[in-house]
């Protein structure tokens, strides 16, 4: 054995590490809950968790990103105590209670060189289904439709609002995250896409060459979302298993995320707090 250790000094380190890890798993006296889901919501909820932890010593809230569908799945299967989703629950997703913590509008964006600043409901449908193919009547500026990938919260909200099916969309490009959509549109004067309003407002205010389009004459801003006049918005939800408000730490954290104590935090993450 000793010659083996000499042969591999590294295995001694490995052994020491195993012992260390053992002692760590034994001392799990802290109360811990796990939150998984929407990558849109994860940075916000992680900060809420940090604030909650600071106010309640001895409590651990682990936030993990992975998409809305995964959050719903993990909450249903009890892999997570709380799921995060940036869309409403669908028909088949039963046995869960949703808790609204904030709102997010979805803005249609184009490159700032594009002269268009307002589209009607029907024009948006016509563009995204490929019926309108050009920006101008001269038919030389072809529209580049930037769509979101399957499973993205923004895609689901967009489709539901315009009563479209995923297969109806005639997309030229398919992207994942909001930032990716913004980078794509800001790099292509012919592109149109849709992203979270807060993110679009922030990027536009900081010099990224994009414009937020008004829909049916209503400007796309955090303010119109908060007032409820802007038509395309989505709730940011926490979901828990069962039909009652969860008990214990899980319930306390959900309550905290809905309290006015986190409104400033929600604003700093560019989402809209829910005001009763």
């Amino acid at each position: 054995m000793s010659s083996l250790l000499k042969l591999h000094p590294v295995s001694a380190v490995f052994g020491a590490f195993l012992c260390l890890n053992q002692s760590c798993t034994d001392s799990s006296a802290v109360e811990k809950i796990t939150v998984t889901g929407s990558s849109t919501l994860a940075p916000l909820v992680a900060d809420m968790a940090g604030l909650f932890e600071a106010k309640n010593p001895g409590i651990r809230i682990d936030v993990q990103a992975g998409g809305s569908s995964r959050g719903i799945l993990d909450a249903s299967s009890s892999l997570a105590d709380i799921g995060m989703t940036s869309r409403n629950l669908k028909a088949g997703e039963n046995g869960l209670t949703s808790h609204r913590i904030a709102l997010d509008g979805i803005a249609l964006i184009v490159h700032s060189q594009n002269p268009v600043s307002d589209l009607s409901h029907d024009q948006v449908i016509s563009i995204f289904t490929g019926k309108t193919e050009f920006w101008n009547e001269g038919n030389d500026r072809k529209i580049v439709v930037v769509n979101k990938a399957e499973g993205r919260g923004t895609l689901e909200v967009f489709l539901k609002h315009f009563e479209l099916d995923s297969a109806d969309i005639d997309a030229d490009l398919i992207v994942g995250e909001n930032q990716q959509a913004i980078k794509t549109v800001s790099g292509n004067p012919l592109a149109i896409g849709y992203v979270s309003i807060g993110a679009a407002e922030y990027e536009a205010a900081n010099g990224t060459p994009i414009r937020l389009l008004a829909v049916d004459g209503v400007t796309a801003t955090s303010k119109t979302v908060a007032e409820g006049t802007y038509p395309i918005s989505r709730p940011l939800l926490l979901v828990t298993k069962g039909h009652a408000v969860p008990a214990g730490l899980t319930g306390r954290f959900v309550e905290f995320c809905q309290s006015t104590a986190v409104h400033e935090l929600i604003g700093s993450h560019l989402y809209v707090p829910v005001r009763e």
Partner: protein
């Protein structure tokens, strides 16, 4: 004859120019990336940034906990992959040369090296996090990375061992040295540069890894208190800042700069160590 020689030298010049151009393209490409990172990231880079906690989703504060988590993940990864990798390579090279099964293992190892990292990530999530019950933790992340870099460590150690002069083994046997002594005193010193190269490549791949870690070591940005804590690795942090956090671009670039500098430092250290061991290594006596 003379014309032929002239044409040859013109070809030589052409080849040299083409090679030089290729090198220039590579250099400009790399330079553009580094320039962009410096331009976006230098303003955020500071000592408080390196040691501070993550605030406001990463837009503010620093990357202190992320660096600690990354270091701990790397420690777990290397503590598992190095002994397993070198052990496996020694067995394959010194003990299993006549076993047909060993060839299948070598083929398997090479296949493993080409598996996309997201596959390792999903495997790690199912096996380490759920089946072994390690949950989202630095241990799960480190073990997943260890699986990923194992092929690199085994391959480079094998190459190191195959570089040993062929007369070393019968010579040692003729002197009555046991196999363990032969390996320990003669072959391992020869293989060490290979191990160092493998470790460096492994560390580089591990540090740059996002897909294998986001579902295993996870997303948490608090200061890790143990190996069973979830901890965000630096590449996951850069990815999240660039993709999910509006206004995270400056800190994403600063974090990427830190990663780049860390990799340069590790490469430099590895070269230094390899040189030192090469000097100290036992020179085989001439025939």
């Amino acid at each position: 004859m003379i014309g032929g020689a002239a044409r040859l030298s013109r070809n030589d010049r052409l080849l040299g120019a083409a090679g030089g151009f290729a090198a220039l393209v590579v250099l400009v490409g790399f330079g553009a990336i580094v320039f962009d990172l410096f331009q976006t990231g230098t303003a955020s880079l500071s000592i408080p940034f390196l040691v501070g906690k993550v605030e406001n989703g990463g837009r503010a504060g620093g990357i202190g906990p992320v660096l600690i988590s990354t270091g701990m993940i790397l420690l777990v990864c290397l503590a598992v992959a190095l002994p397993l990798g070198t052990g496996c390579a020694i067995w394959l090279s010194e003990f299993a040369s006549k076993i047909r099964f060993a060839r299948a293992i070598t083929a398997g190892i090479d296949l493993l090296a080409s598996v996309p990292s997201i596959v390792f990530g999903l495997f790690g999530m199912v096996f380490f996090c759920r089946t072994l019950g390690l949950g989202f933790s630095i241990t799960s992340g480190g073990l997943t990375l260890a699986c990923m870099i194992l092929p690199i460590v085994i391959r480079t150690t094998l190459i190191g061992l195959s570089g040993a002069p062929s007369n070393l083994r019968p010579g040692a046997a003729a002197l009555g040295l046991s196999r363990v002594s032969t390996i320990r005193h003669l072959l391992l010193p020869v293989a060490i540069p290979g191990v160092v190269v493998g470790t460096t490549l492994g560390i580089s791949r591990a540090l740059a890894e996002t897909a294998a870690l986001i579902f295993t070591s996870g997303y948490a940005t608090r200061w890790p208190e143990g190996f069973d804590d979830s901890g965000r690795a630096i590449s996951v942090h850069i990815y999240d800042l660039a993709m999910n956090v509006p206004g995270g671009a400056a800190n994403a670039a600063a974090s990427a700069l830190v990663l780049l500098l860390a990799l340069l430092f590790i490469n430099y250290l590895a070269t230094l160590l390899a040189d030192r061991w090469l000097l100290k290594r036992i020179a085989p006596t001439s025939e």
